[in-house]
Amino acid sequence: MTLDSSTVGSRRRRSGARGSRAGLAFVAGYALLLVAFGVLPTGYAIYFAFTDAGGSFTGLANFVSTAQDFRFVDAIGHVALYLLFWLVSLVVFVVGLALLLHRLSSGSISRTLRFLYYIPGALAGAASVLVWLFMLDPTVSPVGSLLGMLGFDTFGEVIAPGNLPVLFTAIAFWTGAGGWIVVMYGALNNIPHDVLEAARIDGAGAWQTAWHVQIPMLRKWIVYMVILAFAGGAQLFVEPQLLSLASVGVAGRDYSLNQLTYDFAFQMNNVNGAAAVSMELLVVSVTAAGFFVARSGFFDAD
């Protein structure tokens, strides 16, 4: 983290002695858990990624052998396409809906909508995917007629390979976007009222205010959302895995990299290969996060 401490620091130093001890205590608890459940397992995985079953060093052999697996390149393609759909829809719709929510003058409608947006997020991940499995089966779906109008009469037609990125995006958006809309709404409320007032006096309409004032001031929140959504999306697992169980393997088996990792570890008894693929996912996610942080000035002090 980079902080310009020359001006801020000196002013805070005096009152900081007692506060920092409490802060340390809080951070220590977090750091301990981070080491136990974040750093150590990661180190363990790195050790596995570069060794074989017997524990001897193998260099990049695990990376090469897993990359040569016939499902690997397909899985990368699947995840990349899904990420594209998911991130674009997330940014566009979350920001759009949050702006709409913010403009609604009536408090009760706004409150009701916020609640509605958030409800799906309150369901645990796997449970909400199960809800969708019912939604997508025309025979039992409450919106079966809608699916029929789109030309889908059987579950098999709905889950055709070409539809999967859209389906997974819809499921992920439904389960995950509500929380972000509420966060964005909170961030919008943090924009000082006088700034918006000034924009209004200068003659900016709703569209111009949103585009030139609100969205630029939300930039950090959007970047924050994209970083977390990217990391989460790259680890796509629950949606295809449950779909594959529900469709008896017709769709979603070996779809994502994480599923491939799972297969390596538990089906093919190749934990080292699984660790290697996990490493690759970690590197990609960290690199992407680093890129976004660097480009957006995420950690710069205001």
């Binding site: 150590l40 079953a53 524990g55 016939f70 089966d137 098999g156 393997g249 088996r253 008894n269």
Partner: protein, 454 residues
């Protein structure tokens, strides 16, 4: 049949075990260090063909699928002195790999293995032996006389390098199920050959559109039709070796037959367990080639067909084929853990559950693999009077399962589901998908380290 090289497997396992123990210690440092000493190999004695842990009294842990819970409960009722912990899991149905996943984790932690496990898959021996989980059963645990009682070839899927590592629960030979009153009403006779079957399918499509002569929509469809047609798609030829040829004549003529019937809609592609089938096609079944367990699991329990309706006939054969052949869909197996500390109780349970008439003949929903129990089972089914006519075709089929289709570590059902099923849904023909099917089988087999000849 599955064969393996034990020395290589053992070495890998023990080497891995060491690494795993080491690493497990490091990872759990924060929580506990003491646990790391358990899992060592102290106190083992070699008996019955494997190193046994020190035996003790205690609770026998049994893992079963939902259907087999009844068996475990019945055992408990008959043997109240045995402390039984019945755990129900998904039975590895549809290639879920739950058991394999858990055993890998237990191997890592060095504890937690169940004593006896039921699996609805019959390829468990292909990994459970390498994983050091399945105990050899024919080296002292189960008497040879008992093993001899199983139907011919029943325990082939449990045999690795000549040693039996699991016992078959039920056989799943395929037969031709039919709706007797409906056949009579329409004035049809049950086809004996595939040629007659095709003709009948065309007749049904013309005279009684909507009625079905079969279903090819399930992931196990190739095991019903292509296996019975002696298609060489899955010939396990040796230790980690498989021969795959999906475009031979035995495959293509069955594929062509299926395509014709799918096209005229006398063959469904929904799958008998799909919501679609239950809702729209349940009362349209005229004929249905399928495994022995279709009788109870599909017709009686899922489709709720009334009694005295469903009859069973031999699987059709190709005209002029001297040797009758049939397919097989699953059929569960029972495994005993090498790590069990209650081997005597485990063996007793295993013997009871696979051979005793009280369960296998009276209660088992499937066709018992243990021949004497199967005889009694047939009598019990006849007495119960659900089926129309006798069940002799089931008994005949039990020894006719074609041996050229094996049980490898890779799941044929998963391959078919992911490769052929989506194409069928989109209107492609089975014939046009055969090369893609072969390609997919080859890739999956190779990824499990199989040597593939095509």
């Amino acid at each position: 049949m599955t064969v393996n090289k034990p020395p290589a497997g053992r070495e890998a396992v023990s080497g891995k075990r060491r690494a795993v123990l080491l690493a497990a210690c490091a990872a759990t440092l924060v929580m506990t260090v003491a646990a790391c000493s358990s899992g060592g190999s102290s106190g083992k004695t070699t008996k019955d063909g494997f190193a046994q842990a020190a035996q003790s009294d205690g609770t026998l842990t049994v893992w079963v699928d939902a259907t087999r819970v009844a068996a475990a409960k019945q055992y408990q009722a008959l043997h109240p002195e045995v402390k039984l912990d019945i755990v129900s899991y998904d039975g590895d149905a549809n290639g879920s790999n739950y058991l394999q996943t858990k055993v890998q984790l237990f191997n890592r932690t060095g504890k937690g293995w169940p004593d006896v496990v039921f699996s609805s898959q019959n390829n468990e021996a292909t990994w459970a032996v390498d994983a050091g989980f399945a105990a050899p059963l024919d080296k002292g645990l189960i008497p040879a006389d008992t093993l001899k009682g199983f139907a011919k070839g029943a325990n082939d899927v449990c045999t690795v390098n000549g040693t039996v590592y699991c016992l078959r629960n039920d056989l799943s030979q395929t037969v031709l199920w039919y709706n007797a009153p409906l056949m009579q009403q329409f004035g049809y006779t049950v086809p004996k050959t595939w040629e007659e079957y095709r003709t009948l399918g065309e007749k049904v499509a013309a005279e009684h559109p909507g009625y079905l002569v079969g279903d090819a929509g399930d992931s196990f469809a190739p095991e019903i039709y292509l296996w019975a047609s002696k298609c060489g798609a899955n010939h396990i030829t040796g230790p980690k070796a498989v021969s795959v040829n999906t475009t031979g004549e035995d495959c293509t003529r069955m594929a062509t037959l299926l395509d014709g019937l799918i096209k005229n809609k006398s063959m469904s592609i929904s799958g008998v367990f799909s919501t679609d089938f239950a809702k729209n096609e349940a009362d349209k079944v005229l004929l249905m080639p399928g495994p022995a367990w279709f009788g109870g699991a599909v017709f009686r329990d899922t489709l709720k067909v009334p009694e005295k309706t469903i009859g069973v006939a031999p699987m059709p054969q190709w005209q002029g084929d001297a040797e009758p052949a049939t397919g097989n869909v699953g059929g569960g197996t029972w495994l005993v853990s090498q790590h069990s500390t209650h081997l005597r109780a485990a063996t007793d349970f295993l013997t009871w559950v696979t051979t005793d008439n009280a369960y296998q003949a009276q209660k088992s929903p499937g066709f018992p693999a243990y021949a004497p129990a199967a005889e009694e089972w047939l009598k019990a089914q006849a007495a119960a009077g659900y089926y129309a006519g006798d069940l002799g075709a089931l008994k005949d089929a039990s020894s006719q399962v074609w041996s050229g289709w094996g049980s490898g570590q890779f799941s044929q059902e998963a391959v078919w589901a992911a490769t052929v099923k989506p194409g069928l849904t989109q209107g492609q023909t089975v014939t046009s998908l055969l090369p893609a099917w072969q390609d997919s089988i080859v890739k999956h087999a190779q990824s499990f380290g199989y040597k593939v000849s095509q």
